[in-house]
């Protein structure tokens, strides 16, 4: 019941928002529903072990409406339900036209995302995978920047093509299951020959690689992130990107173990190239949003490489980092949003000296930047350390090249900090004021999580332990 409520509350909230009349009502209702969902997910944390639910949906097709929450899903659920209230609080000052539709679509994305993380039936998973995409497309195309229509369209068609290949892969495997069903356990019990595994692996993986995104399928991401309205970008990079990684752990590694082993070298090489490529570009860009977007590609590339490194440490690190990166990157985006709203520009060439006008923001941003660099004492360090341990045990050179990304990450993150907050004031930044209470609240929550996660990561590691065990057994 709890599981259905998790999806149902944001869904109803979303549909309700469309019919509200005032913008303020829309904001408040959206916040209310997202807090309610957060409360629900806290309840799920209280249950030890896996929660599941099963209902009949399409028995003739072998598909049932089955949801389940194991450790990894609980963590991602927590991430999703935690970031939504934070995002909504921090962007309260943003004004859009037709805000009821805006917040309605945002809540619908949450319903779709939670559905992806909860589904334990492949067809249901596919449904939610696509459904999370549609509101994101509408949000980006309606309320985004100048070139939003093209960017969102490319985002949509690219991801859609990948998803359709995923559908072919699902059908391919469906007819090979023993009992012609789409259930998770049936897929886990598949016995496939090497040929079949290779083919199925690529059909599945291309969709996930596009979603993450992994080099070389990343070309849609910088434009889409830049042109989307910032709250949507927060959700896209904080949670939607994790959909791809989650799907790899849940649906790819256990179902195609031999193929995963076979292709891991290729994937790790591509990921490492992606990390270095994205980090190098991040150093050069002039726009804050693009910098954080490329930084996101770099971080996710590392997580992807760690997933394929066949080690317990790598897998644990990637799972923990999913949560950590989700929180950290939302913190970064919140600051970007504040700056964009106040000063009106995101270009480094036009910013400077904000620390003099907004000291609280500067301090909080400093912590976020350190988290982005994965300094010890921040949560990202725990994740990255585990991931590098795993990658190192797989191949020393891969780990070495990936480690260069730490240095590059420090370069662009600290450079961003320097460029935006320190240095001389200019005409535009003269008028800035310190950030509002709502923004500070969100950022402080994130900072607390960053530091607590850095000092005492054991709860999260314990939470995802059962998933790690399941995947490793395979």
């Amino acid at each position: 019941m709890l599981l259905v409520l998790l999806i149902l509350i944001p869904l109803l909230g979303g549909i309700l928002s469309f019919f509200l009349k005032t913008n303020a009502a829309a904001k408040n209702i959206a916040l209310l529903f997202s807090v309610a969902t957060f409360a629900m997910s806290l309840c799920t944390l209280c249950h030890k072990g896996t929660l599941s639910l099963q209902a009949d949906w399409l028995p003739q097709l072998g598909s049932s409406f089955s949801l389940s929450l194991d450790g990894m899903a609980k963590m991602l659920c927590l991430l999703t339900t935690l970031t939504f209230p934070l995002v909504l609080t921090a962007t309260r000052a943003n004004n859009y036209e037709n805000e009821n539709s805006f917040y309605g679509l945002t809540l619908l994305i949450q319903a779709g995302l939670l559905g992806v993380f909860l589904a334990s039936d492949v067809l249901l998973f596919y449904f939610f995978w696509e459904l999370a995409l549609i509101p994101a497309y509408f949000l980006s195309s309606r309320w985004g920047g100048e070139q939003r229509i093209r960017a969102a369209f490319k985002f949509f068609v690219y991801t859609f093509a990948g998803s359709l290949l995923l559908l072919v892969g699902i059908l391919y495997l469906y007819f090979k299951t023993a009992d012609h069903s789409f259930a998770l356990q049936s897929f886990y019990q598949l016995k496939l020959t090497v040929q079949e595994q290779n083919l199925g692996f690529w059909l599945f993986f291309i969709a996930f690689a596009i979603k993450m995104p992994m080099f070389p399928f990343h070309t849609w991401q910088p434009n889409a992130y830049e042109q989307s309205p910032t709250p949507t970008t927060m959700l896209l990079s904080g949670i939607m990107a994790k959909m791809g990684l989650y799907a790899v752990v849940r649906w790819l590694l256990p179902v195609f173990p031999v193929a995963a082993h076979h292709f891991s070298h290729l994937i790790i090489v591509l990921s490492v190239i992606g990390i270095l490529y994205a980090s190098l570009i991040a150093i050069k860009v002039d726009d804050m949003k693009r910098l954080v977007a490329y930084s996101s590609i770099a971080h996710i590339g590392l997580m992807c490489a760690a997933l394929f490194s066949h080690s317990e440490y790598g897998l644990q690190g990637a799972l923990v980092q999913m949560f950590n990166h989700g929180i950290n990157v939302v913190g970064l985006w919140i600051v970007v949003n504040v700056i964009e709203q106040q000063v009106g520009t995101r270009k480094f060439s036009e910013l400077g000296g904000l620390a003099q006008k907004a000291p609280t923001l500067a301090i909080l941003f400093c912590v976020m930047v350190f988290a982005n660099v994965a300094l010890p004492l921040t949560n990202a360090f725990v994740g990255e350390f585990l991931m590098f341990l795993g990658l190192f045990s797989y191949n020393v050179w891969a780990a070495a090249f990936a480690c260069i990304s730490i240095i590059l990450g420090a370069v662009y993150s600290l450079w961003m900090m320097q460029k935006v907050f320190y240095g001389p004031l200019n005409a535009k930044t003269e008028l800035a004021t310190d950030s509002s209470g709502a923004v500070n609240f969100s950022l402080i929550v994130i900072v607390i999580l960053v530091i607590v996660g850095g000092v005492y990561p054991q709860p999260i590691l314990d939470l995802v332990k059962d998933t790690v065990q399941t995947v490793l057994v395979k």
């Binding site: 003739q60 696509e130 229509i149 369209f153 068609v157 093509a161 059908l171 469906y174």
Partner: protein, 478 residues
Amino acid sequence: MNAIILSAVLGIVMMLSSVLVSNKKAYKNIALVGLLVLLLANVQEANNGPLFDINTYSMLDFDGFGLFFNTIAIVCTGVYFLLTGSQIEKVGKHTAEYFALIFFVLCGASILSAYNNLLMLFIGIEILSIPLYILTGAKKKDLKSNEAALKYFLMGSFSTGLMLMGIALMYGGTGSFTLERVATVSISGADLGMDKTLSFLEVGGMLLLTISLAFKVSAAPFHFWTPDVYDGAPSVFTSFMASVVKAAAFIAFLKLFLGRAAATSVDINRVIGVDWHMFLAILIVCTLLIGNITAVVQHNVKRMLAYSSIAQAGFMLFAVFSLNGTAKEGILLYAVAYSLATIGIFALLSRMKNTSFDGYNGLAKTQPALAFSNTVFLLSLTGIPLTAGFFAKYYMLSAVMQSGHYLWLMIVGVLFAAVSASYYFRVIQSMYFKTAENDFDHLEETPTNTFRILLVLLALVIIFVGIFPQSVLNYLGY
């Protein structure tokens, strides 16, 4: 049997009412009542048997599949009358005759869903097509309409000629007009009678029949009439042509292959070397390629929909390719999803002043309910989950998967489905994300509230079928 006879009778009733009833607005209501009677008679036949006891000498065979398709066609026509009935009145002076012709088309569709004999196939195709030639040219003062009608008539007759040649060859090769039953042909052909040995005549006949039916369903490279005809015909009749008629032609195609080629494909491979699977696969790839690529470059929504219907035909051909139980269910579900979505889109299109993409700019602001419904229809045609179109495509892909190692064909089909998103979404982009040049009315006249409610209801039905597709397949006892 009920459907065939009653639809013909209803056509005559409509013709009589044009003489006897002088109130123009009443024709639509008479037609709706007639459709209701037709639907009830068809359902009655599915449960209890026909009202008329006529010995068809096994030339017609009324099985569950055919009767269910009749129901689908009648319901879709009913939705069509409800949504666009008022537009039909605006086409020309002879409103009742248009309704009569549509009933005759339904008669042809009913024959096609039940034929068991190649002669009946010919009769069904002709009864289906000839009223359409007239309906295409209904706007007598419009040059495009006249051109479209003439083009349709000439090419249609040509393809019917090919069909007759094919039937004659098949008769020459096998000595019978009957569609063979699938199971009786054994692979070695040892204990078969003379009419079951394969000959070049039969293969040639089958090829000609396939080509002529491919023309009817507008599969490439026999699709050249489709864009001009769909574009030139009055939008209301394009709607009917693109939905019910295309579905009926596909049912005929499927029945032909289930009867004739399914068994013979293995034998033909061995004896003569025509691989029906490969032939159809090439047809499908050409259709998907031409349909999708040309649709992307269109500037006019009506023409884009014409080309996109070619692409949709390509997807429906998957059913003819696979020929299994899933394919039969799939083609029915595809008929429902595609027809309802097409009728919905054209219901809005026929009321637009400007049918180019720019004519839709900013529609979401002035007519939010209509824009929402249109979005649902477009998403259904693309195949997004939660709409009926997704399950239709799912069944097609599932059917191909079951028929053997044709993964490459599925991947090609799926990639073209992704391409199709680009032109369907252009309409959504115009409606929601672009603003109109100046505040003008998109529609010729303000739509009535009934129309809005009906369109939104249709969109909700499509979403409902998208969540519970079994509701269509279980409901009428097929």
